[in-house]
Amino acid sequence: MKKTVVRLLALVMVLSLALLGAGCSSSNKKGELVIFSWADYIDPDLLKEFTASTGIEINYNYFNSEEEMLSKLEAVDGGEYDIVIASDYIINIARKENLLKEIDKSKVPNYENLNEDYLNQYYDPEGKYTIPYVAGTPLIVYDPSRVTCQITGYGSLWDESLKDQIVVMDHMRNVIGFTLKSMGYSLNEQDPEVIAKAGEKLLALKPNIRALDGDTPHEKLISGECTVGYIFTSQVSAVLSERPDFKVVYPEEGMGFGIDSLFMPANAPHEDAALQFMNFLCDPEISARASVFTQYINCNKAATQYLPEEFLNNQAVNIPADILGDIEFMQDISSEATEQMNEIWNTFKQS
């Protein structure tokens, strides 16, 4: 009796495994596109429309951090995934590790709609591998009814009246970066003496920090937990939509900048589908909808006419070029500088 039960169970297991295998292979036949990005970073409606018009099934995989993405990509030797959307600095590393595949532009005719300002940047100087998806710059927002000091830039965050009030992203490079900026240096400063000075200055900021949060800082601002935030573009939009009375500050010391782009991993299994998808996202109307969904800066010059008024009036996603001024990308720095910053960051958090 017992043996029969065991055999039965074994049979069930084998069968379910077989079914699992069958499930995978059947979706392969129709044409498939495997996307790898942050959760909820592409409007699900757009994905559905793409499938409806091309018949290509989309398999959306997500990562929680870009370091995780690159580790996985390296583990599968640039295969498995067809489209990855990630930030400039990690794409730069992926390029140096030979994990990118060149884009056949003749199959992406909508490429010409893109705004040249966002093309051929440091992570892809010849514009061979990437297509900008959206861009953004972290900004300072504050509640004018509860903040008594003048906030004009990063330097203002050290004001004594802001004790236990500020939320900033839980991100080493960004936080040390704005400290460097407040002292008049570059985000990517590598001089050990300067970094050490920035470290000392950063420690003095700790009493003003109410929380470090890169995922949901907007909620802390909306609920009134914090009165000042240094947060990402889409989070600024989220704050403004709930609390229009909040003020946005374009830091006077200059702004950091980032572009999230699409790329194909070196051994992407479905190249044709990936190129079709790239072309789809470069369509002006689709691109406009993608920006509205993500609440990031649009990189498509033909899309402006499709952007709703509300989006164009949003200070976080529509920054006039003259105000944007000299933007600076956060780039990879030497191993020694990273190590030094990491020590500063650990001391800062531990203090």
Binding site: E67, A211, S223, G224, K349
Partner: protein, 292 residues
């Protein structure tokens, strides 16, 4: 485990039944191999941009003695000890009185205790955030009652973090002690009372010593994970303090220093083994209070 009955039956040689092979293969593939990988990486040098080189170094282990890392170890240890002490303080009376109820009531109480833990712990911690945030119900109530003029800062401090730690780990303490108390021979305590011991004296000289295995097992089960939990300090503590778990996460995800992350993980593992070793020494038990 499987060898003994076989040996007793026919005096056959000890044979590992094919039915346990999957377990061995599973353990080798998903426990032993990754551990070997982690140990290996901890002796390698970090690559300039990404990943590791194949150069051998002891530097990672030497940098464990950096003041920052030592402070983090100290702080984590302190948090873990306080969490253990608090859960014991709350958990012991809870388990003790639960075990005194009738069996039906007992199992109902244990069910109530365990039910919330079927829900993901991140969701439950977010529940605390909703309760305690500036415009949340707790602050609302305090202000309505006139106990606070403006919203109190209940979140993102050490207290909120401790609340989260105790909340998350309390069931481990309660169930361990409950298991011990439930098996108590109450007639021994009655005998102590008959011989003139006051209730307090009977409790401290008879009940407590008899439940020591449960207490120690509970302490191990709470102490060990509280050294490594990182999301509680991130969510409720505002990510402002650095515990061992956060440090490992930072090394891997932000500093991209895998060797250091691996080294810290190994250090934590050794620390945990040492703690369990002390437990075995103290109690003379070979298993964790029945949890093998």
């Amino acid at each position: 485990m499987l060898g003994k009955p076989n040996a007793a039956k026919g005096g056959k040689k000890r044979v590992i039944s094919p039915t346990v092979w999957p377990l061995y293969i599973w353990t080798a593939l998903f426990v032993a191999l990754p551990l070997v990988y982690v140990v290996t990486i901890s002796f390698l040098k970090k690559d300039e941009i990404w990943g590791v080189t194949n150069q051998f170094t002891l530097g990672n282990y030497l940098s464990l003695f950096d003041p920052v890392y030592l402070k983090v170890f100290g702080q984590s240890f302190l948090v873990a000890v306080s969490t253990t002490a608090l859960t014991l303080l709350i958990g012991y009376p809870f388990a003790y009185f639960t075990a005194k109820f009738s069996p039906a009531v007992r199992s109902f109480i244990i069910l109530l205790l365990m039910a919330p833990f079927w829900v993901n712990s991140l969701l439950r911690l977010n529940g605390w955030i909703i309760l305690l945030k500036a415009n949340g119900p707790v602050n609302e109530l305090l202000m309505r009652l006139g106990l606070a003029q403006e919203p109190l800062k209940l979140l993102y401090n050490g207290g909120a973090m401790m609340l989260g730690m105790v909340y998350a780990l309390l069931p481990f303490m309660i169930t361990s002690i409950y298991n011990s108390v439930e098996k108590l021979d109450w007639s021994v305590i009655e005998a102590a009372r008959d011989l003139g011991a006051s209730p307090a004296k009977a409790f401290f000289t008879v009940t407590v010593p008899l439940t020591v295995p449960g207490i120690v097992a509970g302490c191990v089960l709470v102490f060990v994970p509280s050294m490594g939990l990182f999301f509680i300090s991130d969510l409720l503590g505002g990510a402002k303090s650095l515990l061992l778990g956060n440090l490992i996460k930072n090394e891997l995800m932000q500093a991209r220093n895998w060797p250091m992350g691996a080294t810290l993980s190994i250090a934590m593992l050794l620390f945990t083994f040492a703690f369990i070793g002390i437990y075995k020494r103290v109690t003379g038990e070979k298993t964790l209070g029945g949890i093998k």
